[in-house]
């Protein structure tokens, strides 16, 4: 089977799900989610057995199937499946906020659209031409507009959707204008050919830098870095929680593979590498500072995770800016992939707990976690593992990701950005572990609250993610092998 059959399969799965959602009788649409899980799981398994050798057709100038692309495809599939599991837990909230007056909620599509987003993210992982990058990126972004606004009886969700729409469209404008200038100075749309052309010394550097700046602004929106990071807290807070998790992990990962590929083009050019690296380092430092310092006073756990997502973007940009040397035998692109795989596990674990809290208490505030240890020791432990890993405590998978980034920065002698990263990591310890006080020591406001019961699927998912966080934090080999493919 050729590798692009994976994307074809995912799109077909999405179409089948839409048809099932529309034409199968019955009010309970949970079967759509279960079918999506089965289908995506099959594609994930299949992704390890596809034929990756390119043939002579022109298709392969738009599409790349290197190891990095396969890693990001796996990340996209795993993330989509976990988001669908989170969505199943979130159905009561969706039911409430999508219902017509006196009618039932309409949340069947909530489990169809992520499948299309997944196809877009898988395509982004392989896109190697300005055209395919643009189209796949927009497939993801436009579907996300719908998903963020999904709870249309909830003003927060609507406002988040409009904010995401305006800034998303703005970043699209920057992206295409940047692409235009890149095409203008090189006369090419394929990234490899553009890279060769930029390196040949025949290209005007000023318009090339102009296009770099425009494209970087657009990509900063996708990955949540300065200067287009200010949408993140509001949109994350307003969007349905599973979609917040999806934005935070899937959309960011897909943004980073495109960023990695485009930066390879600019950083590979002798004439541009100096200025581009300086700009990237400035972006990394500013992102680390904004994300970590703004996270400290937050009292809403969802907004806290939003700032955490910005700060992780800072670490990742730093890894990309640290130059081609990398660390521990991994290239910068592979370090980013490793970090994102780790980030996927721990962030989705935190969001899985948040979904349950949100469903049972209707709030995302840190106060809603008061007394969680009494209500459900298992959930409290799951969140403990998640925040420890997000903060980068040793023996968790998050520690390994941060270690790789620090090692790459040390190898490239980037002492000032390293200082910012250390400040960020230390601040992280404070604001991540703040939630522990709520869970273990603070008493809930209204006396003792009822214990929380979890469905079998949720319990299994949480157990899997906890195990992955701890085991992969001790035994590094599996993720190393995944990103080195």
């Amino acid at each position: 089977m050729p590798v692009y059959s994976l994307e074809v399969a995912v799109v077909l799965l999405g179409l089948v799900l839409l048809m099932m959602e529309a034409f199968v009788a019955g009010k309970d649409k949970r079967f759509v989610a279960h079918t999506a899980l089965l289908g995506l799981g099959a594609v994930l398994v299949g992704s390890f057995f596809v034929d990756r050798t390119p043939d002579a057709s022109g298709f392969w100038s738009f599409y790349k199937a290197d190891g990095l692309a396969m890693t990001y495809k796996a990340i996209a599939l795993a993330c989509t499946m976990l988001v669908i599991v989170l969505g199943l837990d979130y159905i009561p909230v969706l039911e409430k906020f999508t219902a017509r007056v006196g009618g039932h909620g309409a949340w069947g599509e909530f489990f169809c659209l992520p499948v299309f987003i997944c196809a877009g993210m898988m395509w982004m992982a392989s896109a190697s031409d300005l055209t395919s990058i643009f189209v796949s990126l927009e497939l993801v972004t436009i579907a996300f507009y719908v998903m963020v606004t999904f709870m249309r009886r909830n003003v927060g969700s609507l406002e988040a959707g409009v904010k995401y729409l305006i800034l998303g469209a703005l970043s699209t404008g920057f992206l295409v204008y940047g692409f235009t200038w890149l095409f203008g100075v090189t006369g090419q749309t394929n990234l490899d050919v553009i890279a060769a052309k930029l390196n040949s010394g025949t290209v005007a550097t000023v318009p090339a830098m102009f296009s770099f700046a425009l494209i970087l602004v657009a990509l900063a929106f996708k990955i949540g870095a300065v200067p287009l990071q200010f949408w993140i807290p509001d949109v994350y807070q307003g969007a349905p929680t599973p979609i917040t998790a999806y934005l935070s992990v899937g959309s960011k990962a897909a943004g980073f593979i495109v960023t990695t590929r485009i930066l390879q083009v600019f950083l590979g050019s002798e004439a541009l590498v100096h200025n581009c690296t300086a700009i990237l380092l400035a972006v990394a430092c500013a992102t680390l500072l904004v994300g970590n310092l703004a996270a400290i006073p937050q009292t809403n756990f969802k907004r806290l995770l939003a700032y955490s997502s910005i700060s992780h973007a800072g670490f990742l940009v730093l890894a990309l800016a640290a130059g081609p040397a990398g660390a521990f035998g991994l290239a910068p692109g592979q370090i980013v992939a490793y970090y994102l795989a780790a980030y996927l596990i721990m962030t989705l674990l935190a969001f899985a707990v948040l979904v349950v809290i949100n469903r049972t208490s209707g709030s995302d505030d840190l106060n809603a976690f008061n007394g969680l240890h009494q209500r459900s020791p298992f959930l409290a432990f799951a969140l403990l593992v998640a925040v420890a890993s997000l903060a980068g405590v040793p023996l968790t998978v998050g520690f390994v990701g941060k270690l790789l980034v620090f090692a790459a920065a040390v190898k490239a002698s980037l002492w000032l950005p390293l200082g910012f990263a250390i400040i960020g990591a230390v601040a992280g310890f404070y604001y991540y572990l703040k939630v522990l006080r709520n869970m273990y020591w603070n008493a809930p406001a209204g006396g003792t609250l009822p214990a929380i019961t979890l469905s079998g699927l949720t319990k299994a998912t949480l157990l899997l993610l906890i195990a992955a966080t701890v085991v992969l934090g001790v035994w590094w080999a599996p993720l190393f092998q995944l990103v080195r493919r």
Binding site: L165, G173, F174, T180, F183, Q237
Partner: protein, 105 residues
């Protein structure tokens, strides 16, 4: 004779007007129109670049292909975007960005 620079100047102006509109205007519909103007700016310069960067005496069609994709994607974006703006208007009876403040800081 109209040169490449003239087209790029007009396209740059369009982009700047669009960006200024997004930043300065407070009505979401107008902001959305300005965003579309920014995409048109990109289309104009893409077509100009591909017309003036000839390959074997023919325009470079790679750029024009990208233009078609941009037009199509922009149409999809408008369809979804207007639907979202209408949903917001139904709930809030306003399309002004200053009124969008439900999120607590």
């Amino acid at each position: 004779m109209i040169t490449l620079n003239d087209y790029l100047l007009v396209s740059g102006l369009l982009f700047a007007i669009g960006l200024a509109g997004v930043v300065l205007r407070r009505n979401i519909i107008i902001i959305f129109m300005c965003l579309e103007m920014m995409l048109s700016a990109a289309n104009l310069s893409l077509v100009a670049f591909s017309r003036f960067n000839t390959v074997n005496g023919l325009p470079d069609y790679n750029g024009q292909m990208l233009v078609f994709f941009i037009i199509t994607v922009a149409a999809a974006e408008v369809a979804v975007g207007l639907a979202i703006i209408i949903a917001l208007f139904r709930a809030r009876r306003t399309v002004h960005v200053d009124d969008i403040d439900a999120m607590k800081h």
